[in-house]
Point group: C3
Chain length 428, copies 3
């Protein structure tokens, strides 16, 4: 394996423009305002906290951005081995002309000031988009998002449905649903109708996917309206549900969402395997973990019942990847999707990529998404992925199967971008 | 790691003759008659279907072989990245002098015609056997197979027992049992006697192993005759069994098979982890998947109870491989066996091979079997395995442990063939 | 990747002195007396037995050391592919000037005699410690170990608590507890007091950690004194416990241990995932296996309840490593620890190391421990680990992230030794 072969494959992949099919960008403030937006990303706060930084030090109310960065910087020395630190360094180098090997207590202030100057320019968002080669950025919108005030062809709406499926027992969520749907659900039919209005609203604003993250023990199943009626009445009457009733409500709403996806021809992104609030003392967004004891067999009924709905599936545990490969190889409506969260580090990305390229039809693989909260992160994350993709293409296809470089690059482009357009639809 | 080192190790492995210890070959028609026999292999039909080809298009009654191939070919473009497509190309190149990079709508007809000419020659079977270097091919025979009309030293009988263990509640299976055993079982003793006759019949025809595929939730245990009597009477009386009763019957028959293996000194191939009919709308043989939540601890009672029976174990999920390595390292009667189905792609084979060669006695590893339905598949599948084996031997033994090339090759030959002969017995 | 780069990183790692933070050394007889102490290590007896050596042949009462070795040697040919055999050869080469490629029936006697001469010299222990570069060796002491007669700064006490948590229902264990604690527990308070005295005794002798190995189905939880009272009274009254009562007792004692660790500021080594006595006919210490269906989510309550206790976690199944990486990345009190038992072979060590170095703060990783019973094993085991560590540092950091060699070496030293000192405390 020569490094120059990898470089030759990487070059055209690095220079191609991208669509990022899953992010948490706020389209009204997509780029960072200060370095605190970047270092405040939960990957850094949780690693710093895990290394010893007390949570109140960075979650103190009224903390200024600069002070927050100043409190995080001393902990960076402990995490400079991590891939996440690698992204940070690459962002600082590419976007802020940072030229040192490390961000330290000695040099962070000049980096802060330097970066602030750049981020305060009015064209900063465009600069980041251009430098990163981003043509489109998919969002993850709350179900009651007005979807106003931004260009939905650039920032593409996706309907996030976690709250609908798992939190209807919370008064605030029910209120938001009532307000956004202009309805007061009290049984299965009226709840479906309320959800239907959300889909109509999103559809009118160019929604490209419905999305949800799911705990390891969730197993979708059809629930009859009559079985759901009682539980929905109870929930919307503000009464507590038993665990069984909660489960029934979750499954009823989830199944209804799949029905609306079928009706509206929307892909349904499933992000499978997260346990919420495992570490209760953790920093903001740094409390969730997983349980590797999960199987796609739990989704058997769903995949069979909705042959017309495409399910881009992300798995949190690397031990789920072979199942994902195999289910995508068998089910026409299951496609592999990105490298999620705890699996988004090189060792797991490389192996997952290898398995998918070796056994899943090339048209059924969404190579990568950034999952970012701020625009600057697309660049280092996609760069990491593209380097790994180039390595796998070089080793398994050019060397291993004697493909031409051109052909390997075409395969790379298909999983990097082509499939995103085919599966979610292109800009019009 | 130099490529020439790998090549030097590969050469003697590629040129050695083989025994294929697990296939689904029909000995009365072992080789393909047309390209449809090759492209009709479920690996291609399911990948094409998964890519979008509607199942009725290829399962239409009365479809001619050529038309079937013609309908599959346009979908090959979507799966040309897969290892399975790699096998197809290698078969066409080696057996049919195909010289192009891809099988396309433009070139498939000439390939079809060219291959047909070859396959229609009377010596085709011998040609394939010779080209592939196959000395023996193990079969997977239904329990009521007459085992007539073929050379059982070339095509070695193995008794497949899935139907006996899991499908005795089906009238057709009971009828087949009654007919083939010349008995009408109604209780534990008579059922055992009927099964005993099947073993006698297979034994007389040179059977080398008993084999079964098992679902992830199966856990063998001894069942007393008296506990089994009631359930067997009920089942053979044509009555429906409860889930508990079914489980008891399954375990009773399975345990009895192990007893007969002990009596007849037969290895018992366990293929652990398949869920049948997960994708109900899938193509023929393209409906099964798995659940990675399975453990060999479920086989603790079995491995302890039958110390004289050798269990060549195949696992479906790559997450089971380390358990297989460890159980084979501890239990004298457990041996590792091949790379099964969804684990039969390079990324998993390489890692599994590495773990096994590093921690399991070299005498307790059956390197590979093809699992093929038609003879042509042994060649590309074994070629894939041999390339990986050579790479692991080069990296881990010659480079990593400074073994001589000759010594590494000897190890390779042991797992490729030597152990097959030692564990299943040699030709007489 | 050039081999010379790996060698350049390896050299300073190989030459640095070590602390071995987890062993089963008997400090009164730390080094081997004969080759039988080395070949009698369960890794060899179990592999030989698995290859066909009947257990009574090597467990025969009164067997002389030389005869035992003589009976094991013929089976070595079957396991010479294993990593474990690699350690054996390296020990013989380094310590006993063995110059051949294999230990055979033809050469073992001269090796035996040659090694015996060396081991009988009075300075043998010191020779091994010096040759291996060992500064300190951590022990695993029974709770009633007097901890007398050895230098506890060289051989550091650790309190092993398996018996307390899982075997208090055995009369012999209760007697040992009563004797060592000078107390007769009969309820929760008095049992805690008895355990408290063990901690006091160990603390006075410089204990550095509390340690326990845990079965895959164990899940710690707080148990109230009042709930425990009944069960403790029953157990110490010599009555049989139900499975539920046993579980409650286990959890009560375990939770109490964590409380004492908090009080005494002791790390609590958790070794998660072993099933005891799976292969009942296995050789001494060669009967245990595992079940990959285990998750760190089972430890959620524990990790949350004891933020001041550091938990160095070892996992037995490689499928648990990504969870360990992720829990260590999130929880400040969880650190990764070594490569345990069935995961202690190169294929798993390499991948685990990669994941940890890519995503866990560098200060939270204890790279390796030998788990040895005799001193001679530290050398080949640490050598194996250091070679893999150098490879990962070369590939992922120097090549992959353009770190200087010096910086990569510093990271290597941190996980090899620096963190051991920081987490368990330094010698005074």
């Amino acid at each position: 394996m020569s490094d120059s072969l990898i470089a030759e494959i990487l070059e055209p992949l690095q220079s191609m423009r991208l669509i990022d099919p899953h992010t948490h960008i706020n389209p009204l403030q997509p780029a960072s305002s200060t370095l605190a937006d970047i270092l405040g990303y939960h990957y850094y706060t949780e690693l710093a906290h895990s290394s010893g930084l007390p949570r109140p030090r960075i979650e103190e109310p009224g903390l200024s951005p600069k002070e927050k960065v100043g409190r995080l910087v001393p902990w960076l020395a402990k995490i400079e081995n991590t891939a996440q630190y690698g992204w940070l360094l690459e962002m600082c180098q590419v976007f802020f002309d940072f030229r040192e090997e490390r961000i330290t207590e000695a040099n962070w202030e000049s980096l802060y000031d330097q970066s602030l100057k750049k981020m305060q320019t009015p064209e900063w968002e465009q600069t980041v988009l251009e430098t990163s080669g981003l043509d489109q950025v998919y969002l993850t919108n709350d179900f009651d998002d007005p979807l106003d005030g931004f260009d939905t062809r650039m920032y593409v709406p996706c309907l996030r449905t976690d709250d609908l499926v798992f939190h209807l027992t919370k008064p605030a969520v029910r209120e938001r649903l009532q307000k956004s749907s202009q309805a007061s659900p009290g049984d299965a039919a009226s709840l479906k109708q309320a959800i239907s209005r959300l889909f109509d609203h999103f559809k009118a604003r160019g929604v490209r996917a419905c999305a949800i993250s799911l705990p390891p023990d969730f197993s979708p199943a059809a629930v009859s309206n009559s079985a759901a009626d009682v539980v929905i009445a109870k929930a919307f009457g503000g009464k507590d549900l038993t665990a069984d009733e909660s489960g029934l409500l979750n499954r009823f709403v989830f199944w209804s969402l799949a029905e609306f996806c079928a009706e509206h021809k929307l892909p349904f992104d499933l992000m499978i395997g997260v346990n919420r609030r495992v570490y209760e003392g953790g920093v903001f967004q740094g409390q969730d973990l997983f349980d590797n004891r999960v199987s796609l067999i739990q989704y058997k009924a769903l995949f069979n019942a909705f042959p017309t709905v495409t399910f881009p599936v992300s798995v949190l545990s690397e031990t789920s990847n072979q199942e994902l490969v195999s289910y995508s190889w068998i089910f026409p409506n299951v496609v592999t999707c990105g490298h999620w969260w705890y699996s988004n580090i090189p060792v797991y990305i490389e192996r997952d990529t290898r398995g998918r390229l070796q056994a899943v039809p090339q048209t059924k693989q969404i190579g990568y998404y950034s999952d970012m909260y701020k625009l600057e992160f697309a660049l280092p994350k996609f760069a990491m992925y593209r380097r790994i993709l180039a390595k796998v293409l070089a080793e398994d296809f050019v060397t291993g199967r004697r493909w031409s470089i051109e052909r390997a690059v075409t395969l790379g482009k298909t999983v990097l971008r082509g499939n995103v357009e085919k599966i979610f639809g292109t800009c019009d």
